[in-house]
Symmetry: C2
Subunit: 152 residues, 2 copies
């Protein structure tokens, strides 16, 4: 299902669902692929359960740190991961509900059908996310993810 203000990346990844799931849910793995180089992830805490917090700090090549906080909404191991920046832990509304991530993994000939959707509450937020470089950024990160799963 897609919603009107979705930005979607989909790929067939030549790896089992279980390995891709690990890359999204284990901090040591997520740090290796989540930010397109030369950006890096300097810190990742992932409490992967509904209502659990995620705290990911992205670091620019100049050393500026950009923290991202959110919570998980739905966790179906190796199948579905949903999270949002609309809340911080304890269901405290965030300053600005910007997006919801819906990751779906399913079996397909050749590996795993990978569908990552960034959902937005408004068309303006979707457009601004796209203008910020959604497609280039998420594709570059997903290239890194594919390279990492090959080594697992």
């Amino acid at each position: 299902m897609t919603a009107p203000n979705d930005l979607v990346l989909t790929r067939l990844i030549a790896a089992p669902r279980a390995k891709i799931w690990r890359c999204w849910t284990e901090p040591a793995l997520l740090k290796q692929w989540f930010c397109p180089k030369p950006w890096t992830v300097s810190h990742a805490e992932l409490d992967v359960r509904p209502g659990g917090a995620n705290h990911i700090v992205m670091r620019s090549p100049e050393g500026e740190e950009h923290p991202n906080d959110g919570v998980y909404l739905e966790v179906i191991p190796e199948r579905r991961l949903v999270g949002t920046d609309a809340y911080t832990v304890g269901w405290v509304p965030s300053a600005k509900p910007f997006m919801t991530l819906v990751l779906d993994l399913s079996d397909e000939d050749g590996g795993t059908r990978y569908v990552a959707a960034a959902r937005h509450w408004t068309a303006a937020d979707r457009d601004s996310h796209e203008a910020m470089g959604f497609h280039a950024g998420w594709n570059a990160a997903t290239d890194q993810l594919e390279e990492l799963v090959r080594r697992l």
Copy 2:
């Protein structure tokens, strides 16, 4: 825990948590108390699990129907219920994320400590909810809830 843009109703209710929980989660019971009379609830569907939908139609004395749709975020039976209008079922962002309901039930001498918080993303939404009659409305509904639990 309260958040900056909360509106909170708290009471000691002379009934066990289990009966109050039923009034929030069984449609036939919720319909009896959820709207301050002479408003009524003409329809209620409650899929009480994280990500499950709630659909409650409020009917004015003149017969106008006002549908309210949302999803549950956290369900700890007889203890905690969290829901929001920020999503419709399937984690589809709603037209306007207005509020999050956090209901906490705990044992206390004399019955159950009942804490219902309406959380908002902005101070403007909290203020508008208050101006719409939050305190009178939620107190009147809670009077009806107390009257109902006495008969269970």
